[in-house]
């Protein structure tokens, strides 16, 4: 074929007739830079003025986020207990560091902050007294002003979640503020910089943190109708209303103990303990909200999470849970036990290892983090 088409003419001149003739227009530079990792782009801001404005363009930040959605450079971030620091690990290096303890990048602060949520490269932080919140993008060193939460000394934040609403192109934080008698649920919209009180949760989720996926925050809770059934409670950040998502249909939901939600590969996932088969099962909902899209992702044989507690109080077994944090393409999954230990399970060879993290005993919360150039107006 190519004999008569591509390779026929021999007219092509040899060598470069005009060595510097091809200058790439800005739209092509844009296309190339969309694929460059954030860390390099931050350095490239000083190439020239036009590159600086391109890389600082909010539309470029959005396009870049979309292009790098399946980011192989996923990180996990956590605040430390009793220590005003935030640490960050690359998932890749955690997996490679089975033989030597994993190293973290540290950010020190004069005040102590907790992480309320992580979305599109932004961390939503809350000071330890819960008086104020702020957004922080560590990759580009963007930080917002502090905004008051309205939390008083005798109240505290319980359920919360942070995410992006594409309808209004804004980041939102939901918090439930409670004291002994009262509960107020409200949403903060960054940019508008105002709180709006909303309806309280229709049920009581087991964990505080709602997981952000597909424009919604998600918690696992006992169904209002039956104490035996688990459901996923969601909050749509766009229309600010609650809804329910069904768990996998297969089998009897009663035999699943201690379900925990998270997001893997951009999809909602749930990890149960299947007491009948004595194993952990991770399911992935490939299409958000579609029950038949639940797919069994990984099964992990029962293992003893904390030998000491296991021996002393067999009763603790009922409280065991596993939270999936990250999964690689070749089936290596990172999970957190409820004793704040991190384990790595290789579903190919069935090996399970506890992760050693240098000098970090007090990981408070582990959030998935994706580097970005995003800095919302607020």
């Amino acid at each position: 074929m190519l004999g008569s088409t591509g390779k026929m003419p021999k007219l092509a001149p040899t060598g470069d007739e005009s060595p510097s003739s091809a200058v790439l227009p800005e739209e092509l530079i844009w296309e190339i830079l969309l694929r460059v990792p954030v860390r390099s782009l931050v350095q490239f801001r000083c190439v020239c003025k036009s590159w600086n404005s391109l890389i600082s363009d909010p539309q470029f930040a959005k396009d870049h986020l979309r292009t790098t959605a399946t980011d192989p450079n996923q990180r996990l971030v956590s605040s430390l207990m009793g220590n005003p620091k935030i640490v960050s690990f690359s998932v890749q290096s955690l997996i490679q560091s089975l033989s030597s303890p994993a190293r973290a990048r540290r950010f020190s602060m004069s005040d102590k902050f907790h992480i309320l949520g992580s979305c599109n490269g932004l961390l939503c932080l809350c000071d330890i007294h819960q008086r104020c919140i702020r957004l922080w993008n560590p990759s580009i060193r963007f930080r917002s002003k502090r905004f008051p939460t309205g939390v008083t000394p005798d109240t505290g934040i319980t359920h919360h979640g942070f995410g992006y609403d594409h309808l209004t192109d804004s980041y939102k934080l939901l918090v439930a503020v409670e004291d002994l008698n009262e509960k107020v649920t409200k949403v903060y919209t960054f940019g508008e910089n105002s709180w709006k009180v909303i309806q309280n949760f229709p049920c009581r989720p087991t964990r505080w943190l709602g997981k952000f996926v597909s424009g919604t925050l998600n918690w696992i809770a006992k169904a209002a109708a039956s104490d035996d059934q688990w459901v996923i409670l969601n909050f749509d950040l766009g229309n600010e209303s609650y809804g329910e998502v069904l768990l996998p249909q297969e089998g009897d939901c009663n035999k699943f103990c201690n379900p925990v939600l998270n997001v893997l590969r951009g999809c909602l996932c749930v990890c149960f303990y299947d007491s009948k088969e004595a194993r952990w099962v991770v399911w992935l909902m490939k299409e958000y909200g579609v029950q038949h899209s639940w797919t069994k992702l990984v099964m992990i044989p029962h293992f003893i999470q904390d030998p000491w507690i296991e021996c002393q109080h067999s009763f603790f077994r009922w409280y065991h849970s596993l939270e999936p944090l990250a999964i690689t393409e070749n089936g290596i999954i990172i999970l957190k036990t409820n004793f704040s230990k991190v384990v790595i399970y290789n579903s190919i060879d069935g090996k399970l290892n506890y992760l050693r993290i240098r000098g970090e005993h007090g990981l408070h919360d582990l959030h998935s983090y994706h580097e970005s150039l995003v800095f919302p107006p607020c």
Partner: protein, 188 residues
């Protein structure tokens, strides 16, 4: 007519038992008959900036969205070659090679891509990106953009300026330079 790519295949199978070879040659004939039929109806000629004319088969042409839409919308007289004033014959030949391999080389595509990339210097890479953009060939365009990314992502700003022929018009380099993922989150 038209043998080169398939012709190579005939040479390669020549060492197989005769009956296998005959069967393959028979398949090949069928293939070629089919292709020849298609070509006679739809084959389009393209004329490059250096006045070379290429006959391009429909399956390759389909990749060139710009040419395809020209044909579809303007009812072009296909007896006359379509002029491509922005593309040299050397680049069009490379583009056709790439599109061909991308469609038919299912086994060693990555290997081909590696060789393809190695054969290009930076200048040629830029020219080809411009051409792929002009012809609107998504596969080649994405491949070249990713190749550029690999080339530049770990380089210094000085390298980038050289690479893209950019004049340094920044006088406050230091203030714009911020290492990622370090430092504190405290107020200034």
């Amino acid at each position: 007519m038209v043998i080169t790519a398939k012709g190579k295949e005939i040479l390669e199978i020549a060492e197989e038992p005769e009956y296998v070879m005959l069967a393959k040659v028979e398949d090949l004939k069928m293939d070629m008959l089919r292709i020849v039929e298609e070509e006679e109806i739809k084959k389009i000629r393209l004329k490059t900036s250096d006045e070379a004319t290429f006959e391009v088969e429909p399956s390759i042409l389909k990749e060139m969205k710009r040419v395809q839409s020209l044909i579809n919308t303007e009812a072009i007289d296909t007896s006359v070659a379509i002029p491509l004033p922005n593309i040299t014959s050397r680049n069009l030949s490379r583009i056709i090679d790439f599109c061909w391999e991308h469609q038919y080389n299912t086994e060693n595509l990555e290997e081909f891509k590696g060789r393809f990339l190695k054969s290009l210097n930076h200048q040629e890479l830029k020219e080809l990106l411009l051409a792929a953009n002009y012809l609107n060939i998504k596969t080649l365009f994405d491949f070249l953009c990713n190749s550029f990314t690999d080339l530049i992502q770990n380089e210094s700003p000085e390298f980038i300026r050289d690479f893209f022929n950019i004049l340094n018009d920044t006088n406050s380099v230091k203030s714009m330079h911020a290492p990622a993922f370090q430092g504190s989150i405290d107020d200034d």
